[in-house]
Every structure is written in structure tokens, then in C-alpha cells.
């Protein structure tokens, strides 16, 4: 990207930054609002089962056929394993209903995983934001 083309983009980015508070991905209590959730029907596209937090990516298709990629964050793999949630329970291509907590910064396509509901009726619950980090 040339210096000439970077200028307007930088202006746009800074304008956006001035209106959208940035919050860290690391402190999930700061990033997500555990009192508000949303649900989307989505197709899982990628699973990253890594420390310190797992990520699941999924495509959401609206009634017009427009596909929007979503990102979902979860807890540490160790805590998930101890609560019975394993990487092998999810597969790329699975069509699921994902329930997640909203991001406090207003990002529409980012959520903290609460539950994944499968077509056959079984569901897998994740923790809540305050469970990922000690509050005291």
C-alpha cells in the first residue's frame, strides 16, 4: 500500500476509533457483557483450540443470502476440558445455533460463547465472562 492511499484510510480508521471504544480480547470481563446475549444460526468455518482462549469462527447467512463472518471467543482450553467441553465436539462445516454474549464495544460480529445448539437437539454450554478470570 502506498503512502498516498494510506492517508484516507488512516483518517477513516481514526474517525472510527474516536467513536468506538477499544477493548482487549484478553480481559473477557471487560470485553463482553454477561447480561446480554444474542443467537445466530451459523456454519462453523474454523476452530482454534488454543491458550489462553479458544476461538470459533462461523459464517452467518441472512435471508438475502449475504454471508457475514462472525468470531466467537471461549474460555481457556483447560477449563473447558474440566467442564466437559472438548475440541472434538465441534467440526468445521457443522450448522449450529450459537448463543453468545455481546461485545461491550458494539462489535456486532463478535461474541463470547455461551452455548452451541446442534440440529439434533444436543447443546454444549461454555462458561460466563466472569468465570474466565478471578473477580477478586
Amino acid at each position: 500500500m502506498t503512502r498516498r492511499s494510506l492517508g484516507p484510510l488512516a483518517v477513516m480508521a481514526l474517525a472510527l476509533l474516536s467513536s468506538i471504544p477499544l477493548l482487549a480480547h484478553h480481559s473477557v470481563t471487560a470485553e463482553f457483557d454477561s447480561s446480554k446475549s444474542f443467537t445466530v444460526k451459523a456454519t462453523i468455518t474454523k476452530i482454534e483450540w488454543v491458550n489462553p482462549h479458544i476461538y470459533m469462527y462461523a459464517d452467518v447467512k441472512d435471508e438475502n443470502g449475504t454471508v457475514t463472518p462472525y468470531s466467537f471467543e471461549g474460555g481457556p482450553p483447560g477449563n473447558l476440558r474440566r467442564s466437559g467441553v472438548l475440541k472434538t465436539m465441534f467440526n468445521v462445516g457443522d450448522v449450529v445455533s450459537i448463543e453468545a454474549y455481546i461485545a461491550k464495544d458494539g462489535s456486532k460480529h463478535l461474541g463470547l460463547l455461551h452455548a452451541v445448539h446442534f440440529a439434533d437437539g444436543h447443546q454444549i454450554f461454555f462458561g460466563r465472562p466472569e468465570d474466565s478470570e478471578g473477580k477478586n
Binding site: A10, A13, S37, P52, E99, K108, H109, E130, K135, N136
Partner: protein, 280 residues
Amino acid sequence: MNGRLAYYLVAVGAALGTLCMAAGLAAQEGNGSQPAQPAKSKQQPAPKGGPAPRTADGHPDLSGVWFGGTAGGFTYNPALRRQFDAKAEEPPQFQPWAAAKIKTMTQTDFELGRASVNCLPRGVPGMFLINPYPFQIVQTPGLFVQLDELNNNFRVVHTDGRAHDPDPDPSFDGDEVGHWEGDTLVIDVISIDERTWNNFTGWFHSDQEHVIERITRPSMNYLNVVVTIEDPKVLAKPWTSTPRVWTLGHEDLLEYYCTNNQEVEQYKALKEKESGGDKK
């Protein structure tokens, strides 16, 4: 603003812009609704489990994998996760200058000070006060070894009553020596790295901080830790915690590392904005 940060902000801004433009098109439903709930946990607090075991030298054996709270393992149940009664504990009394400094801190400052944002070790005494992950104690006569799941940290403390190093370097776990007072293991810690906080809301400390940890195993399944903090530069008087409760788990530690820490740059940018603009 340096070039790397500028590039980062542009990239983040562009991504946010894309998200904003696409926002109205999402097939999102139920926004703002209350989430479904899993079946209620039937977990109960762990039983006492009989008397604590002892090592060959007669001291209580603190060895085991310990989880914060009373569940005897990992749990999402907040009542079982609770390690102490906050209402029964006196808050730290700060020197006026320290209280004034903490009062000026914003939520962003708190986030910037969090070990989980900076990927800093919890250190002493954070490993007992602000650590939601289990640890394992391996004890032999004269030695206390603590293995922390959090960042795979460890500490090795001699418990033979030896004196502190006369000239220790600052470190996250400090210079620590142990001795037994009856059935209580007392670990005395000085020379603690000043980058750590003792809570998530601004309790910073000085190079004069002196921490005394008192560890007991009142029964097979329970471990209690009482922490005293003296810090004449920052605290108006010493602070002593109520007992922090840990319970014996029956599984091995797993691996946990704080990585992927570029987000701290976001907080620094936010702090710059809150401070009135881009400081060159």
C-alpha cells in the same frame, strides 16, 4: 505514534469499519435476550476428608493439586468458587498519596495493570489472592515446591528456617524463605518486582513490600492461606487477608499460557485517547 502502532490502528479501524458497514445485514436474532441456562450443578462443597497427611518429619503434608473454592475441582458454580468472605475482610488502608493515585485510575488503567492483560506472572502474593487457576504443591522435608497452572510458573521455597539472601534481586516471587510454626508453614517474602498488583483495582506496591504467607491444611481436602502484607511506603498499616480456601482436586494440572498479547496496545491507545490525544 510510532509506525507500527499507526499501522495497527489502521488495520483495526479498517476491520471495525467493515464490521460497521455489514452490521445491518446480519441475520442476528434475540439480541439482548437472556441466555439459556444449563442444568443446575449438583456439586456440593468437598467434605473435610479426615485429618491431613504428614510427611516423614511430622509436618502436615501440603502436597496435592489445589483448586480455588470448595468444589474440590473445577466448577462454574459461583458459590463453590468463592474462596473467602469479602465482607469479613478489612480493605487495605493506603497512605494518602497512594489512595489519591488509585483514585485517579480509570477502568482502562485497571485493565492496563492487570496481569492477564499484560501476561505478567501473578507472583507473590497474587498467586494466592488473584489466581483463578489451580496449582500443585510438592512437599518434601525442608522443601516446598509450588507448580502453577497459570503460565506454568513455579516457586521453590526452603522451609528449613534459613535467613533471606542479604542482597536479593527483585523478582516476581521475591526472595522467599519458609519455616514451620506448629502446623502452619510460614513463608516470608521480600524483594518483590514492583510491576505486580495485589488486586485488579490498582493496589500497586513498593520495593519495601513484605509478604507473609501462612499455609495450613486443616483437613485432608482443604488448604487455607492467610496473607499479610506490610508496605510502609504504600500502606498506612499492614493488611491481613481472611483465609483463602482451596480444595484438593483429583486430577493433574493442564497447560495454561497467557499469549497473544497484542491487545495491550489497544488499551494503551485508549489510554492515550482518554489522556487528551496522541502523545508524541
